[in-house]
Amino acid sequence: MSASTDRRWLRDVIGIALIIAAGLAGYWLFPDNLALLTRVIAAALLVLSIDLITGYCGVATLGQASLFGAGAYAAGIACVNGITEPVTLILIGAVAGSVAGLLMGTIMLRAHGLAQLVLSIAIVQLFHEAANKASAYTGGSDGLAGLMVSPLFGMFAFDLWGRTAYLFGLALLVLVFIILKFVVSSPFGMLCRGIKQDPIRIRAMGSFVFPVLLKMFVISGAVAGMGGALAAISTQVVGLDSVSFELSANALVMLVLGGLGSLYGALVGTVIFMGFEHFVSAINPFHWMTMVGALLIAVVLAAPGGLSGLLDRFSASGHRAKRGKA
């Protein structure tokens, strides 16, 4: 038992070290793009949160931005009302995200497959509508502006160059990633993977399915909520786009692009998608959509398991038997 465990440990330690290294490399290589990179980190948290319920539990969602937006608005509203300490704001985002996750899970888990996907869409639309309606608190379509976040630990201000925001976001991402690595390699994570493949088997093992999935929704909500809060803190504005179907769909696309169920895929997909979008739209803003579309098609044709699956295929000796059930 210890040999394979050690190997897995080692792989995760290396993986996390690589994430930190890549993050710091980003800091040194692109010192002028830190706001973009911070945006990527916030999105990465959102995509990670989808991986938890889609990649590990087999529940596809096109409404994850509800949880992201809940976190963003909670942090934003708290900030406008005088709670300006960044770490507290992140925690507020996490709590709001979990509550939204609990709500969303309770509704979504009533259905399966396509119906479930449609429920997720309906929920994000309702969240969006609610945020638009509650303009007294959310600023509606004009956005919730005027977030004055205090310096981190009273020392590091969130400034124009976005260094504080980026390093803060990177630290948050790494921390969350490590915790999630624990979560998915815990008995609970194993149970979720089992449910993804065969809920009837799991029931026959004497475990309920609904509470397990609901718990994952709550965890996922916390992660997405922290992403939202990070976006709110670093942007100082919360817009309706943070609870939109478009954001949800983009995030799901990033996840599928990177590959489901490994957490690494979520990061790879986010970085590739947003990086590609950024560079292509800077080169030719008028046609980036065609190119992004072509990228997606190419990935499906060349690497149906996502980009991280492609890496696996090159690196791993054993071919992973593919029995994905979306």
């Binding site: 390699s185 008995p187 029931r203």
Partner: protein, 254 residues
């Protein structure tokens, strides 16, 4: 009331079609009972009714003196009513070791833990290893289930069930689909089942039934048509009719 497990008048209708009719039987601890019957007799429906996958139109399921008819599948498992599946339902990406470990942790109420490593529960390692070794699965314990032989997968099905420490075990065709060269291993595993366990086996393979069961129940068209010793089954006219119906009929005409 000394019976460990009892079903009374179990009936299930799908629309107007009765797939189980007034089935009653009881099992004391340590029982080795075989349930046989021709295709379409309603054996799998019976297992599903007993384990709570589907709910009966009428009748009761009693475990240890407690009526569990209203309980769902999960609660019945937790009370010791455990099944295996006719077609293996295993997680192709996981190893046998992981299957059994997950099951043991579940039984111990530790499967919901978030912040401990799955592989870090040393207290269950001994039990997992002993289950795997009893079934002769130690050498494939860390291979992915998708890569091991079907006979071994069937054994793992039994291993998962054992890890739940059942009181009553329903084996749904444990040897189905297993090449004949591997059946002895299954038989061996069945022989080593804990003696106090009540086992209800559904099986087609008559050799296996005769060697394993002390008592046989025959189901046909959703009804029990015979209950008795294995040696009496073959001679029973109703059973012959149910199994050989058309064939015997044809012979008589000829």
């Amino acid at each position: 009331m000394s019976d460990l497990f009892r079903v009374e008048g179990l009936t299930k209708n799908f629309g107007g079609l009765a797939v189980s009719r007034n089935i009653s039987l009881s099992m004391p601890a340590g029982e080795r009972l075989a349930l046989i019957g021709p295709n379409g007799a309603g054996k799998t429906t019976f297992v599903n009714l007993v384990t709570g996958q589907i709910h009966p139109s009428a009748g009761r399921v009693v475990l240890n003196g407690e009526d569990v008819t209203k309980l769902g599948a999960v609660r019945r498992v937790r009370k010791g009513l455990v099944r295996t599946f006719q077609v293996t339902r295993l997680f192709s990406q996981m190893t046998p070791e992981e299957h059994v470990t997950l099951t043991v942790l579940q039984r111990e109420g530790k499967a919901n833990r978030i912040l401990s490593r799955f592989t870090g529960h040393s207290e269950v390692v001994g039990e997992v290893e002993s289950i795997l070794s009893t079934l002769g699965l130690l050498d494939v314990a860390r291979r992915r289930v998708g890569e091991i032989a079907y006979g071994q997968q069937r054994l793992l099905e039994i291993g998962i069930a054992l890890a739940l420490r059942p009181k009553v075990l329903l084996l749904d065709e444990p040897a189905a689909g297993v090449p004949s060269s591997d059946t002895p291993r299954i038989e061996q595993a069945l022989e080593r089942l804990p003696p106090s366990l009540a086992v209800l086996m559904i099986e087609h393979d008559m050799d296996l039934v005769f060697r394993f069961a002390k008592r046989v129940v025959v189901l046909a068209a959703g009804e029990i048509i015979f209950e008795g010793l294995p040696s009496e089954v073959a001679a029973n006219e109703k059973v012959r009719e149910a199994y050989l119906g058309n064939y015997a009929h044809a012979r008589r005409i000829a």
